[in-house]
Symmetry: C2
Subunit: 633 residues, 2 copies
C-alpha cells in the first residue's frame, strides 16, 4: 500500500486539539471504508464522516486470515499523563505513514468526564480520531442505547415489585398471560424452574406462585440506574416516594452509563444472538426468603425472568455495530464501546477488533489504564472470550512519569513542574524504571513480544531515552523507540511503527495466565502473584462467602475482571513504583454474568464521577457564526 499523508498540515507550533481537528481535510468515510474493502451495503452512514459497519462482513470474510493484533498499554499512570491514547492512535498513524494497511480500535469515551474533569479523549495534537467533536459527544448514540436498555430493566424491576406487592398470584398470572399463553421468555423461566406446563391454566397453585411471583428482595437488588453525566448527587438516592403508585420506597443509586454491565456485555459479545443470551443472563438480585405462601430457596433473578431481555436487545441492535471513523492520517478507526476499566474489562469491543482483523494487516487496539489492569484483562479476559491471539504489546511510558515512580517530587496543578522532570536526571529515572520493567516482564509472561514507546517530551535528553532503551531491552523488550506523534503526526511514529512490524514477525507463543478450570481463589492468586507481585491474598468474610456462593452457582469457570486501582500495582493508589512484600486484600467479589466475568473488588470503587468546582463544560460553547464547537479539548 502507498504511504499515507496527514490530512492536516502539521504546524511547527502545535495548535489546540480542536483547532487541529477542525482544520483537517477529512476523507469521506465511504472512501475510507471502500479502501479497506468494505462494501457499500455493509455500511450505515451517520453523516459524511461516521458509519456503522454491519456484522455480516464477518461472515463474508470468514476465510480471510487475520491481520496482526497489537495491544497498546502503558506503565502505571501518574498525574503527569502518559499519552496512551495519543500513542495508540500514533502507532496507527505511524503504520499508515510507512505504508501499512492498518486499523485502529479504540473506546468511545463517556460524556461525563468530557464535560466534567477530564475533557475530550480523542487523542491529542497530531494524533487524533476525527471529527473529534463527534467522538467526544454522542457519536452514533451507542452509550445512550446502553443507558436506555439498562434503565428499562431498572424500571421493570421496580414495576414488578410494586405490582407483586399489590396483586394476588392469580391476578398476576392472568395479567401477564391474558390469552393463557406463555411468551418465549416465560418458557425459559419454566425450563429454569423445571416446571412442565403448556399454558398457565395448567399450573398448580404452587407452581403458579413460583412462575409468576418473582418475590424480588429489595435489599438484594444489585441493578442500579445509569446516566452518562457525572452527577454525584445520584450516587445514593431513595426512590419510590410519593405513595404506592410510585412503587416501593427503597435505597437505590446511579452509575455512569459506561459502568453498566450492558456496556461490558456489548463489548464482550460476538453477535446479536450472543448479546440476546447475555441480556437474559444478567442477574439483577435475588428473591426473598420469606413472604411466600409456598416457601422456596433464594434464587438469582435475571432479566429473562422479568421478560425484558428481548426488548433490551432490541434497543441495542444498532449499538452492536462498530463505528467507523478516521485518524488524522485518514486511516480507518473503529470507535466502539467503553466499558469501565475497574468493574469491567476497560477494553473496546471484540466485534470491532474481529472485523478490523479481517480488513487490515495491522490492528492497533487500546486497553484501558495501566498494563497490570488493562493489558491483563485484554489477555486473560478479552482474548479468552474472542479467541484472538495478540502479536505484539506496545507499552507506553514517559521519562517524567518514570521519574515520578522513582520518587520524584509531587506535582501540583497550576504550579510549574519541578526541574527534576524538566532537566536530565538519570538517577531518578533509574529508580523509576522498575515500574516499566515489571510491566514488560508481565507482558512477556503471556508470550507476546513487547515494544516500548517513549512518548517524548521536548525536555527529555538523549541519555535518558538511551537509559530506558537499554534497560527495556535487557528485560526482554524488542526495542524502545521514541514517539513524537503528538507533535509530528504519523512521521513522528514511523520508527516505532517499524519496530512494531518487526515484533509482529516473531512467532507468537500466546498463553493465558490461568485456566478456566482453576478455582476462583486460584485465579485471583495467580494474578496477584504474577502481575501485581503480591506475597499473597487476604479475603474478607464477605468475599469468602461470595466465592462459595458463585462456586455453588456453577460460575467458577468464568474468567476474572479484577476491580483494582490502576494508579498502583497494589490496591493503594498512593504506592508508586514496584512494591514488594505486601498482600492483596479482597473486600468483596461480584459477578457480571451477562458480561461473563467475576469481579473481585480490591478497594473502594467509584462508579459515578463527580464534577469539579469549574467543570470542563464552563468553556464549551458553539461558535454561532460557524456552528462549530469551541472549548472542547
Amino acid at each position: 500500500m502507498a504511504k499515507r499523508k496527514m490530512i492536516v498540515k502539521v504546524r511547527e507550533k502545535v495548535p489546540s486539539d480542536i483547532e487541529i481537528a477542525q482544520e483537517a481535510n477529512l476523507r469521506p468515510i465511504i472512501e475510507v471504508a471502500k479502501e479497506v474493502g468494505l462494501l457499500e451495503d455493509e455500511l450505515d452512514l451517520y453523516g459524511k464522516y461516521k458509519a456503522k459497519v454491519h456484522l455480516s462482513v464477518l461472515e463474508r470474510l470468514k476465510d480471510r486470515p487475520n491481520g496482526k493484533y497489537i495491544d497498546v498499554t502503558a506503565i502505571t499512570p501518574t498525574p503527569l499523563g502518559e499519552g496512551k491514547t495519543v500513542t495508540t492512535i500514533g502507532v496507527s498513524e505511524g503504520l499508515a505513514y510507512i505504508g501499512k494497511k492498518v486499523f485502529t480500535c479504540i473506546r468511545q469515551p463517556s460524556q461525563g468526564p468530557t464535560f466534567g474533569i477530564k475533557g475530550g479523549a480523542a487523542g491529542g495534537g497530531y494524533s487524533q480520531i476525527v471529527p473529534m467533536e463527534d467522538f467526544n459527544l454522542h457519536l452514533t448514540g451507542d452509550i445512550h442505547a446502553v443507558g436506555a436498555a439498562h434503565n428499562l430493566l431498572a424500571a421493570a424491576i421496580d414495576n414488578r415489585m410494586a405490582k407483586e406487592a399489590r396483586w394476588s398470584t392469580n391476578y398476576l398470572a392472568k395479567a401477564l398471560c391474558p390469552d393463557d399463553e406463555y411468551t418465549p421468555s416465560m418458557r425459559k423461566r419454566l425450563e429454569k424452574l423445571g416446571i412442565k406446563s403448556e399454558r398457565p391454566s395448567d399450573l398448580s397453585d404452587e407452581d403458579k406462585e413460583r412462575m409468576f411471583r418473582l418475590n424480588i428482595d429489595p435489599d438484594a437488588i444489585q441493578w442500579r440506574r445509569v446516566v452518562d453525566v457525572s452527577d454525584a448527587a445520584l450516587r445514593s438516592i431513595i426512590v419510590g416516594l410519593g405513595g404506592p403508585n410510585n412503587g416501593l420506597t427503597r435505597e437505590a443509586g446511579y452509575d455512569i452509563t459506561v459502568a453498566s454491565e450492558i456496556m461490558a456485555a456489548l463489548a464482550m459479545c460476538n453477535g446479536l444472538a450472543d448479546l440476546r443470551e447475555r441480556m437474559g443472563r444478567i442477574i439483577i438480585g435475588t428473591s426473598r426468603k420469606g413472604g411466600l405462601r409456598y416457601p422456596r430457596p433464594v434464587e438469582p433473578i435475571t432479566a429473562e425472568d422479568l421478560n425484558v431481555a428481548g426488548a433490551m436487545t432490541v434497543l441495542l441492535k444498532d449499538a452492536i455495530m462498530p463505528n467507523l471513523m478516521q485518524t488524522l492520517m485518514g486511516s480507518p478507526a473503529f470507535v466502539h464501546c467503553g466499558p469501565f476499566a475497574n468493574i469491567a474489562q476497560g477494553n473496546s469491543s471484540i466485534i470491532a477488533d474481529k472485523i478490523a482483523l479481517k480488513l487490515a494487516d495491522y490492528v492497533v487496539t487500546e486497553s484501558g489504564f495501566g498494563a497490570d489492569c488493562g493489558m491483563e484483562k485484554f489477555m486473560n479476559l478479552k482474548c479468552r472470550v474472542s479467541g484472538l491471539v495478540p502479536n505484539c504489546v506496545v507499552l507506553v511510558c514517559t521519562v517524567r512519569a518514570l521519574k515520578m515512580h522513582g520518587g520524584g517530587p509531587k506535582v501540583v496543578a497550576g504550579k510549574p513542574l519541578d526541574k527534576a522532570y524538566t532537566q536530565e536526571n538519570l538517577e531518578l529515572l533509574e529508580k523509576g524504571l522498575p515500574n516499566l520493567l515489571q510491566h514488560i516482564e508481565n507482558a512477556l509472561k503471556f508470550g507476546v513480544p513487547v515494544v516500548v514507546a517513549i512518548n517524548r517530551f521536548i525536555t527529555d535528553t538523549d541519555a535518558e531515552i538511551e537509559l530506558i532503551r537499554s534497560r527495556a531491552k535487557e528485560t526482554g523488550a524488542e526495542d524502545a523507540i521514541i514517539s513524537e506523534v503528538w507533535k509530528k503526526g504519523g512521521e513522528g511514529a514511523a520508527a516505532l511503527a517499524e519496530a512494531v512490524v518487526k515484533a509482529c514477525e516473531k512467532p507468537t507463543n500466546f498463553r493465558f495466565l490461568y485456566s478456566d478450570d482453576m478455582s476462583i481463589k486460584e485465579k485471583i492468586e495467580t494474578i496477584a502473584r504474577e502481575i501485581y507481585r503480591a506475597d499473597g491474598v487476604d479475603y474478607t468474610p464477605e468475599a469468602e462467602a461470595k466465592i462459595k456462593l458463585f462456586t455453588d452457582m456453577g460460575l467458577s469457570h468464568l474468567p476474572l475482571c479484577m476491580a483494582k486501582t490502576h494508579l498502583s500495582f497494589t490496591h493503594d493508589p498512593a504506592i508508586k513504583g514496584t512494591p514488594r512484600g505486601w498482600r492483596l486484600p479482597i473486600r468483596d467479589v461480584r459477578a457480571s454474568v451477562g458480561a461473563g466475568f467475576i469481579f473481585p473488588i480490591c478497594g473502594p470503587i467509584s462508579t459515578m464521577p463527580g464534577l469539579p468546582t469549574r467543570p470542563v463544560f464552563t468553556d464549551i460553547d458553539l461558535d454561532l457564526e460557524t456552528g462549530r464547537v469551541v472549548g472542547l479539548s
Copy 2:
C-alpha cells in the same frame, strides 16, 4: 407531479403494523430527498432510510414561497381512539396518491410508552412512517440528546450547591476564574447583575458574592431530571445521600424526557443561535433569601448563570436538524421533536415545518391530543412564534368516539364492544356530535377552513357518515369525508385529499385568539371562554401570586401553553361531550422561559408515566434468524 403508488402491496386482510412495515419496499432516503429538491450536501444520512437535513436549506430557499400548511387535529379523545396519527399520515398519503407534492411533519414518540402501555406510534395499517422500528426506537438520538443536555444542567445545579456550601466566595471566584478572566457566559451574568468589571480581581467583596455565589434555594428548584423510560419509582426521590461528597440531600424527581423544557424549546426554536439563547434563559429555580453576607432579593437562576447553556447547546447541535423518513407511499416525512402535550406545546418542530413548506406544495403537520389542546396551541403558540399561516385544519373523528361523547356505554378493555358502537345508532351519534361541532367552531375562530376526516370503521353505516357530514357542513366545515387509509393506504384518503386541496384554495383569514399585550389573566380567560366554553376562571392564591410574579418579571407578553387534560373540554377528564355552565380552576401557573411560554395548570398533570403489570416490552424481541424486531406494534 405524477401520482404515487404505495411502496407495499395492500392486502385484503390487513396484517400487523410491523408486518406491513417490514414488507415495504423502502425507497433510499437519498432518492426521497433529491426528489423533493434537497441537495446531497444538505443531508446527513443515518443509514439508508433516515437522514438529518441541514438548516442551511432555509437560507438557500428563503425566496421560495411556502406551500400550503395543513394542521391535523381531532375531537376530544376517548378510549376508543380516533386514529389521528393514522389520518395525519393518511392525508399525506392521499395527497401523494392524487399527485401532489406533499410533506408530512410528525412528532417523534417517547420510548417510555413504546415499551410501556401504548406501543408504537408510527401510525398503523397502510398509513405508517417507515422504518417503523427506527421511528419508535432511538431514531437518530434526538430524545437522548435532549436528556443529556437536561441532565447535565441538573448535575450542574447540585454540583454548584455542593461547592458553594463548601467553599468561601473568594475560593469560588478563584476556582471559577483561575486566570482571573471571565467566560462569555460569566459576562452575561455580570450584565444581568449590572456589575461593571473587567476581571474578577476588580470586584468588591459584595459584587464578588453576587457574581459567584448563586445561593440556589434547594426548596425552589424546578429543574428535575429526565429519562426516556416509563419509571414511576423515579417520580419522587431523594438525592444526595451518602455524605458531603455526594452533594446536598434534597427532594427531587424525574420526568419522562419528552416533558423536558429543552424538548419544548427545541421544537420552538428557529435555529442554533435562537436555541443557544433559549438554553441560557431557562430558569431552574430561584436564589435563597438568607445565607448571605450581603443580603439581596430573591432572583431567578438561569442555565446561563450556571455557565452550562453553551455545553447544553453543543449537545443539541445535531438534534436541531429534522429527521427525514418516508410514508408507506414513499412520500417524505419529517419526524422531529416530541414535546409533551400538556405542560408543553405538543406539536412537532417549527424548523421541520418551515423547511417542509419550502420543499413541498402541501405540508401536513399534526398537533397533539384534542383540538382544544393541540390545535389551540398550534395556532396561538406555535404559529405565533413561527410566523407561519395555516391554510386548513383537518379534524379527525370516528363514529364510535362521537357515540361515546353522546353518552354511549363504557368500554372495558378485553370485552367485546357494546352494540351501540357496532350497529347503526343515529340518536346516540346525534347526541355526541356537538363535541365535533364545537371543535369545528373553534377552528373557524382562527379564520382557518376546516375539513372533517371520518376515520371509518367497517361497521359505520352510510346514514351515520351522512349525518356527520351534513351537521359538520351546517356548522361551517368545508366538508366531511371518510378516510379508509388504514385499510387501503393512499387510495383510501384520495377523496379526503381532494377536499383538503380545495379548502387550501380558499383565502386565509388567520388570526390569533389573543394578542401579546393582553394580561396573563386575559389570555387565560380568552381561551377558557372561546375554546373550552367555560363561564369563567377561578384562581388559587398560589396561581394569583405566580401571575403577579411573572407579570413583575416582565413575562406577561409570553403566549400561554394551557396544561389541561385532553380528555375533556373541561379540566375533568371524566366529562365528555360539550359541557356548559362550569368554571375553569387554575391551580398553579408556571413559566418555561426557555421554551417561551407560561403554562397555567388546570388539574393534576403526570410528567412520568408508569408501567402496567404486563408492559408492552413483554412481547418485544429480536428474531435472531433475520435480525428483525418482533412484537412492536
